[in-house]
């Protein structure tokens, strides 16, 4: 019998491997923050997300005394799937990035999810809304961390219908996100006995909404549903005032509104808007302390829900790496689902098999100018939607690898 050199060697190497404290590729955990740094979503995500990610790394190393070496890189995808996927591919192939976080703009998120799966890396998405990320386009390498269009539709959409908004006209951003949000909200409106009188699609990053708003006005719908976000939503709301749409009796429903949007609109124009978010800086003492710390590092601007999400997602990712003792994307993603989540911003939660993170959602109403007592005091809490009701049940989704 030949001396089993190869087997012995393999066993030896395997034994050494088992004793390695962590099989981290090239010894560094590299996190890539990919988002819109200069366009219509830059206030909601942008450089603030990088600040949040750095805070997470700092806090994690301090609290867990972990020996991980962690680096953060960032880039601007300019809301274009081809730019985003090129950056992701290069990050994964040559720059040894292990995880990509944030990625607003659903069309880019879908592309990044694909690339991450292709390369066996992991994508923690906090920025994009499309619920398809845990349904038709789900992936074992993608965790949809923060919110999605189903949650928004069932939060804001349902609240508006139940308060008398029984006929709707949609003003929709013409790409994956807007269409998903419109679809999910329409379903809620119809389920709750409302009607949809019309829809109009506008290009992403439109500056002039006058002709679309006139169409909404002509439809005489009680509610004009804004299935868009960021600069598009704020421009539409501002111009709706200019054209006397609100004075004429129609209500505006901002289906996805973030704190920075309310800040740029001002309470005069934003008051009365319903919105659903999973984080608000003024919710409790822990969120307040963190947010003030964040604002000091972010030129005084308070955190958006997405920036808080980046903090929370990066924290849990690092926890999962130490627990799984590897930075292999697919394995860490599984570990993130195995471990329950818990942090000062979102409290206790969990990650489902299809990649959907669960935590409570909050229905807010924007305060009147007279009701606001201090800077960024913008929201009134109307209701808390518990985690098990805030998101679409896994059985109703169309995620292929969960269907059995």
């Amino acid at each position: 019998m030949k001396f089993p050199v190869k087997t012995l060697l393999a066993a030896l190497l395997g034994a050494i491997g088992l004793h390695a404290s962590a099989q981290i590729s090239d010894g560094i955990v590299k996190i890539g923050v990919l988002n819109d740094m200069s366009g219509l979503y830059s206030e909601i995500t942008g450089p603030g997300s990088v600040v949040a990610a750095k805070m997470a790394v700092e806090d994690y190393l301090k609290s867990s005394k972990s020996s991980l070496k962690i680096e953060i890189v960032s880039a601007d995808h300019q809301n274009k799937p081809d730019i985003g996927s090129n950056i992701a591919r290069q990050w994964y192939d040559t720059d040894k990035v292990d995880m990509i976080v944030d990625v607003p703009t659903s069309s880019v998120a879908l592309a990044i999810s694909q690339v991450s799966r292709e390369k066996g890396k992991i994508h923690v998405n906090t920025g994009a809304a499309t619920a398809d990320l845990t349904s038709k386009a789900c992936s074992p390498n993608t965790i949809h961390w923060l919110y999605d269009t189903w949650m928004l539709a069932n939060g804001t959409g349902k609240a508006v219908v139940q308060h008398g908004g029984t006929s709707w006209f949609f003003l929709t951003s013409d790409y994956a996100f807007g269409l998903a949000l419109e679809r999910d909200t329409e379903a809620v409106v119809l389920k709750n006995g409302g009607k949809v009188l019309g829809k109009v699609r506008h290009p992403l990053a439109t500056q002039d909404f006058s002709s679309f708003l006139l169409q909404a006005q002509a439809s005489k719908a009680k509610v004009i549903g804004l299935a868009n976000a960021g600069g598009d939503t704020t421009n539409a709301i501002k111009q709706a005032y200019e054209f006397g749409i609100v004075k004429g009796g129609q209500t505006l429903a901002g289906l996805l509104v973030f704190l920075p949007d309310v800040h740029s609109l001002g309470l005069e124009k934003a008051q009365g808007l319903y919105l659903t978010e999973t984080f608000y800086w003024d919710l409790n003492d822990q969120t307040r302390t963190w947010s003030k710390r964040f604002a000091a590092l972010n030129s005084g601007k308070y955190p958006s829900m997405d920036q808080a999400g980046v903090y929370s997602g990066v924290l849990h990712y690092l926890k999962a790496i130490d627990a799984a003792k590897t930075d292999d994307g697919t394995k860490v993603a599984q570990k993130m689902k195995d471990l329950p989540t818990d942090d000062i911003l979102f409290g206790k939660g969990s990650v489902r098999k299809d990649g959907r993170k669960l935590h409570p959602a909050y229905l807010f109403e924007v305060k009147k100018p007279s009701e606001s007592k201090y800077p960024y005091d913008y929201y009134k809490l109307l209701a808390t939607i518990p985690a098990d009701q805030a998101f679409r049940p896994m059985s109703e989704g169309e995620c292929p690898f969960v269907k059995n």
């Binding site: 740094m37 200069s38 366009g39 219509l40 830059s42 300019q78 109009v200 990053a205 500056q207 002039d208 006058s210 002709s211 006139l214 169409q215 006005q217 002509a218 960021g230 600069g231 421009n235 501002k238 200019e242 054209f243 006397g244 004075k247 004429g248």
Partner: protein, 294 residues
């Protein structure tokens, strides 16, 4: 009441919006037509100069507290001056070459200007407030027309007609037109032709900047605002006739109206309708509706 099966309220509303867009098309194509008609330069940086006009208004407000009315004067002067520097230093060397090079140069300049602004200010718009006297809207019955937008329509018509009058009906305009037909002859009469050309380019650029200031309260001040509109304006100029002043004015307003109409009747086509018309015009009468073949 319905006209052709469309509720009249929707129709008039969209036509009025179309007229507002048309005002900008007219102002911008006027500048382009002046520059091409009189100087034979295809000024691809026209969109970037329009954007600079808006930025000068925004920055003069931010840095010096100068209001909209001052900006209406300062912006065209500042941007026009920059334009004249460009003409004197670069364009003048390209006159003997193929038109192509002028186009490529101005295209390159547009990229530089746009890139610099985008670096400094990001890609989304900066708000610019409507001047106080125009706050509020006029109730026209079928829609509320913001007062500022009404001002845009009126003032752009005024500027367009004044420019047309000066060029087509005054002595100064006559010298200008003569200088493009036969520069040496006009030079022989003692008129400084190169200086006239420089001033004309500056004037065309100034018109773009003026359009930019007027656009600021409506379209937000964004580094990308020129890029989005320049191609449409080219189409307008081609349709009107590349050297014809009146042609550009009429086409600008007319195409704005047609675009508005299309938005009501067949919204999906509203982006392409101007290009379809341009392709048709080029096939039937390439010199444009009001132009003469050079």
């Amino acid at each position: 009441m319905e006209i052709f099966g469309i509720p009249s309220q929707a129709l008039f509303g969209q036509l009025l919006i179309g007229l507002i867009n048309g005002s900008f098309y007219a102002l911008l194509s006027l500048g382009l037509a002046v520059i091409f008609g009189l100087l034979n330069i295809i000024n691809f940086s026209h969109g970037a100069q329009y954007m600079m006009g808006a930025f000068v208004a925004y920055l003069s407000l931010q840095w010096f507290g100068l209001n909209y009315w001052l900006a209406l004067v300062i912006s065209p002067v500042v941007v026009g001056a920059i334009g004249m520097v460009i003409e004197r230093s670069m364009l003048v060397r390209l006159y003997k070459l193929d038109h192509l090079y002028g186009l490529l140069l101005t295209f390159g300049l547009a990229l530089i200007i746009q890139g610099l602004f985008r670096n400094a200010y990001g890609a989304s718009g900066m708000p610019y407030a409507v001047p106080d006297v125009f706050m509020g809207a006029i109730d026209l019955g079928f829609m509320f027309l913001p007062k500022y937008r009404a001002w845009v329509i009126v003032s752009s018509m005024f500027v367009c007609l004044t420019t047309w009058f000066v060029i087509e009906r005054t002595k100064l305009g006559a010298y200008l037109r003569a200088a493009t037909e036969n520069p040496s002859m006009v030079q022989a009469f003692g008129i400084n032709v190169p200086r006239m050309i420089t001033l004309t380019y500056g004037f065309g650029v100034g018109l773009a900047a003026l359009a930019g200031v007027m656009a600021a309260p409506i379209y937000q001040v964004s580094p990308m605002m020129g890029a989005d509109i320049i191609i449409v304006v080219f189409a307008v100029v081609v349709i009107g006739g590349m050297g014809s002043i009146m042609g550009s004015i009429l086409s600008g307003f007319g195409l704005g109206l047609i675009e508005g109409l299309t938005k009501v009747v067949y919204p999906e086509a509203s982006n392409t309708v101007i290009f379809v018309i341009m392709a048709i015009v080029l096939l039937i009468k390439p010199a444009g509706l009001f132009g003469t073949e050079k």
